[in-house]
């Protein structure tokens, strides 16, 4: 539980002010970049300067694409991952890892947008605390950020529920519920793999957001079907001990 957040390694290699930059694209390849190409002349850019640095980050804010395209890509991603793993857990781990870098980047994007939009209505309207849109210091504002703005950015609606574990033994466990996860809409899981939940990808995104905020956590996706919502999925967030200790300190200090 005390291992450093995964993104520590990634932050150190992120270069040239890549904001949300480079999509997930360069997470790994970028690693040899610092060692190898210190002396290289850098990337070529088109003469008309159609680069990510010249385009507004909000350009795609309200853009839409076909849901089918997402379904095709996601299905291909799962199929590809499936060929390289030994079991369900392994597969979910891999999907989680593919979502993780998205979380890190979406976090920056979220803050950038909530701060730059003068009304900042998107954040305050959902979050019950009237906190200004800066980085959450406590667990609850972080969870609201995930439940509201993050979900809305990804799926155009907030998540369906947010709960705290009732067991006194696991005060570090929180649950976010999605009654009908978009990512699973077009996935049919074979009977023998009924434990599998491909929303592990989304769990990875959440984990990236938590880690990016400095809340070390493990996030997993679980099937919790109800009669009305056969695809209902619970995202279980388990925060690390260090986070829980800090939480107590902050509580005593009256930080919200």
């Amino acid at each position: 539980m005390t291992q450093p957040a995964r993104h520590a390694a990634m932050l150190s290699i992120s270069n040239s002010g890549s904001n949300l930059a480079a999509a997930a694209e360069k997470q790994q390849p970028a690693q040899h970049l610092h060692t190898q190409s210190q002396s290289s002349q850098g990337l070529r850019v088109p003469s008309n300067r159609k680069t990510i640095y010249d385009r507004h980050l909000n350009r795609s804010r309200n853009a839409e694409l076909s849901r089918a395209s997402f379904a095709f890509l996601f299905a291909e991603m799962v199929t590809y991952a499936q060929r390289r793993v030994t079991g369900i857990q392994d597969l979910e781990k891999r999907l989680n890892e593919q979502g993780y870098p998205l979380g890190l980047r979406l976090l920056d994007l979220l803050f950038y947008r909530t701060m730059s939009s003068s009304t900042s209505s998107s954040l305050s309207s959902s979050s019950t605390s009237a906190s200004p849109p800066n980085r959450p210091l406590r667990i609850l504002p972080l969870l609201h950020l995930i439940h509201g703005p993050l979900w809305r950015l990804l799926f155009n609606r907030p998540a369906d529920a947010l709960e705290h574990s009732v067991s006194p033994e696991t005060p570090n466990e929180y649950m976010i519920t999605d009654n009908d996860p978009l990512v699973n809409t077009y996935i049919s899981v074979p009977k023998e793999m009924s434990m599998l939940n491909c929303a592990a990808f989304v769990a990875g995104i959440i984990e990236g957001v938590c880690d990016g905020c400095g809340f070390e956590a493990k996030v997993t996706a679980h099937n919790q079907p109800t009669e009305m919502w056969p695809g209902r999925t619970i995202f279980l967030l388990r925060f690390g001990e260090s986070v829980m200790e800090r939480e107590k300190v902050l509580e005593r200090a009256g930080v919200k």
Binding site: A23, P29, L33, P46, E64, S66, S69, L153, N156
Partner: protein, 192 residues
């Protein structure tokens, strides 16, 4: 009305009325994480990454054509030029909300280029600065596979590859598409 304008209208109409939408950034980032994963799995061997992306695209294309036909309800194209317009103005509109320009036809009407002003798959993308990626990786190569897979299902064997990409520092993003042959109907064995 030229077949291109007609196709544009069909495409836009379909995009507005028949297409279920999702946030564009979710798609963009999901594609990005797929490519990043491949770069990692193939240890930076970008030729292999290109090939794998093409394969994934092929798998998608074979299924995507069904969706395309069901949504568009268009009939058989009279010739390859019409096919090109259909791909650029209807296909790309439905699935990526873009309409690349069809240009640079060869005189035998068997080869054309698609020039992309916009490419949602490549939003937010910068290739790794390792001195190789900009020479070897075709980031959006999945699209070549999609075209190959989709057209194969409607009896056209084609070959598609990118010849330039703004991500590589080129001024345009251009894909070259060549018709190899029309696949003859293979009649199923006679039942009688």
């Amino acid at each position: 009305m030229s077949s291109a304008t007609k196709a544009s209208r069909i495409g836009e109409e379909l995009w507005k009325t028949r297409v279920d939408k999702v946030n564009a950034e979710l798609v963009t980032l999901t594609y990005g994480t797929i490519v990043a994963q491949l770069c990692q799995d193939y240890d930076g061997n970008y030729q292999d990454v290109n090939k794998q992306l093409e394969k994934m695209g092929y798998n998608i294309g074979m299924r995507l054509i069904e969706d395309f036909l069901a949504k568009s309800n268009v009939g058989r194209c009279a010739n390859f030029r019409e096919t090109a317009d259909m791909i650029a103005k209807v296909g790309f509109r439905i699935f990526l909300n873009i309409a690349p320009t069809v240009t640079n036809w060869t005189s035998d009407n068997n080869q054309f280029s698609l020039v992309f002003d916009e490419n949602p798959l490549a939003d937010f993308v910068e290739l790794p600065d390792d001195g190789r990626a900009q020479d070897e990786l075709w980031f959006s190569n999945i699209l070549c596979g999609v075209l190959r897979g989709a057209l194969e299902m409607v009896q056209m064997q084609i070959e598609a590859h990118f010849v330039s990409d703004v991500l590589r520092g080129d001024d345009t993003t251009e894909m070259r598409v060549s018709l190899v042959r029309y696949i003859e109907d293979e009649m199923p064995p006679d039942e009688e």
